[in-house]
Amino acid sequence: MSNLIEQFVVEARELLQGISEQILALETQPDNTEAMHELFRLVHTLKGNSGLVEAPAMTRVLHVAEDLIGAVRDGRQVFSRELADTLLDTFDFVACLVDELEREGTVQASYDHEANRYIQQLQALGGNVPETEATPSQTQAETSAETVSIETLPVEAQGVARRCLQAGHTLCWIVYEPEADCFFKGEDPFLLVRQTPALCWGRIVSRKPWPPLDALDPYHCVLRFELLSEAPLPELEAHFRYVADQVQLCTVVAAQPTAPADTATEADGAPVQVSAEAIDQILQAQRAVLDSPVDEGFDGRLQAVGAALSGLLQAMGRGDECTALEAALSEARQVRNPEPVRRWMEQTFAMQENQTAPETNQQALPESAAESASPAATEARPAGQRSRSSSTLRVSQERIDALMSLVGELVVAKNGLAYLASKVQRDYELSELSREIKMHYAVIHRIAEELQDAVMQVRMLPFAHVFQRFPRLVRDLARRLGKEVRLEIIGEDTEADKRIIESLADPLIHLIRNSLDHGIESPEERRACGKPETGLLRIRTRQEGDRIWIEVSDDGRGIDPEKIKRKAYEKELLDEAALERIGPTEVLQLLFRPGFSTASSVSDISGRGVGLDVVKRTVEQLGGNVRLESEPGKGTRFILSLPLSMMVTQVLIVEVAGQLYGLPVEAVVETVRIAPEDIQRIQHQEALVLRNQVIPVESLQYRLNGCKPSIEAADTLAVVVLQLDTTRVGLLVDDFRETMDVVLKPLPGVLAGLSVYAGSALLGDGTVLMILNPQTLFASCRSNSGSEAFASLTM
């Protein structure tokens, strides 16, 4: 049944997500009836599903939650913030149980206790019936003792409890958790339990999993006793008076009308019906069908009853009686009256006891009443958001990844063909063959591209996938910080590669935390500034070409550049000279430096040892970049730009000291060839004046191995101009080659620490190309002496 659990977990998570969305929607619009009905439907479905897996604790909690939500839906209960909190907590717990189920295949009884706590919380809210509707006796009963509904009891106890209640007895649910050191006080809880008056059910459970025997302390009590007793409450209170603080007594109440018949489906652990009873059930049902009013469905129903009865006869080994059944059926069809079949049934199956079945009273039910009784159920619902069973396919992540890596190999192998074509031309001078290979290459190239596109499409996920967690996050954070915040999400349908979407979750959460913590002011402060009390946090995404833009902006207090400067100076990130020269745009970028944090104390929320530098690094690892804009008093805006897909990166190949390296083309502004005398020395920095802009020049060879090439000897110099955040840098190389599509593989293990490389790629001839990471390549340069020169040069 592990498939079933897998399916359950997938669906449960979808349902829980929907549940959380509806609760949040209701919190802003408590009278949104559509959300209310949807919430009920989702919880109902989840409860139903949970009955199919081994998770009794989950089913019990969901049952009570469903009751409570039903009460709100029917107007018997008000949707309050407190209720929303409790529901959200409860469904978080359910989510934990789903995780547990996924891990263990079952939810252990050890969760029962915690489940009971949630059940009690829910019941505490549910008991809060508006006064006009509560009858005095009910309120009294509720105040004198806590009550539990029968459905919240362990399933094993429900059958007994139901029988006791049906017999009209009062019933008490007792949970006794003796203190750990009770044996030293001379207590014997088991004895006390065995002497409980009018005990009708009980079980002993361990509060914790048993340790190995050699670790067991027999004098440390870890047991819990769960009991049902028919004794009056005062008597039980007296019985447990010495351990009253360790005992919980609740009156058991029936929550739903108890159902007759179908005992086999009741969850009381009753043995499966013997066949005779099953046969009887089927017969009763067919009689009920025959008793239905004669309408357009009569013929069809009659035929179906015939099929059911003939199946039954065959199963009973009485297939030879089918002829008589056929005769009765055809007679009934002719007279349009079920009587002949009824008669046949009476003769064939001697009528026995079970005459109390529900259908005895249904003849009295007029057709119109039956029709009108069904509107709630028959009403068309909004089409489910989930796709239909037949139109989508769930494919495991691994299979897609395998497909993607095959496509990657195909792209590389395809490059091999291009290499072969030029080799044939160059080394063997077979231009005809070379041309033919190129033609085939072109065809394979096109197919590979389309295939790549198709696989990319499969891996695309909408941003909604990560955004769906945000409303809850923002709500909880705002509540904790005492701020009022409205979250606006625009473009959640924008899609990007799964890996990008998933890796962005943490950076985005950090930016949201940052906005709520540092950006958006408290309601009082906002009012004082003449702003609306509720702050606005906006997340917007859009696709432009093959890049994705994400903006996280708030209308908070913004960032004070002077404060940043002071701080950077204190932290020795800037010296005095730089302090004076640095421009407002550069100042903001300082926030992304490792170790920089503007909050004077590490706060609970955004100060988790993770700074904006981690955000920046994560985004850069995904081939993107982050920018920060801010206007003091007006707000802050983070702008992230990322590639649409991680699959294929276009690189410019450059040569340095006989070695080839790749540079991601999105960082390349232009390539220029210059004379050695065009390089000037400004302060300690070599630089190049290009179209009236001063661009610092660095040698790639120097960056990589510390050797300075002698530039004076060369006729022309090859310079790649790179865009780094707000500045441009010229990279001196020996030569440029072509641009090429490569599949970037992150560096394994130790090499990953060599962050001047973004990764490696396999070329068509089987050699490995190292792909440079321009951001990190120059990071060390800027954090050392370079920053002042940069600041001055790029003004």
């Binding site: 003796p178 009770c182 044996f183 207590e187 014997d188 809880p189 088991f190 004895l191 065995r194 009980g202 079980r203 002993i204 361990s206 048993w210 340790p211 025997l213 050699d214 067991l216 027999p218 004098y219 009590c221 870890v222 047991l223």
Partner: protein
């Protein structure tokens, strides 16, 4: 004696008191395949019950006391069939 240790089984008789929990535990540890005879047992102190629950030994005979027998059955103990 409420507890009689034999070679491969232990017999619990009458009221098994709290003092027996420790010896019972160490005996069950030393004799992991041993059987427990509860025929004449009328009550087990909670501490001893815990030991049985944790050790899950094989039961040779369930108690003749119907109430204790029901409790132990509800904990999953039964005679070998």
């Amino acid at each position: 004696m409420p507890v009689e240790f034999r070679k491969r089984s232990v017999r619990l008789v009458d009221h098994v008191s709290v003092e027996e929990a420790e010896p019972l535990l160490s005996w069950l540890q030393d004799h992991p395949r041993a059987q427990v005879n509860l025929k004449d047992c009328r009550h087990l102190h909670t501490a001893c019950l815990q030991v049985l629950l944790a050790a899950q030994p094989r039961i040779r005979v369930m108690p003749s006391d119907p109430d204790l027998r029901r409790w132990l059955e509800s904990c999953g103990f039964h005679e070998p069939s």
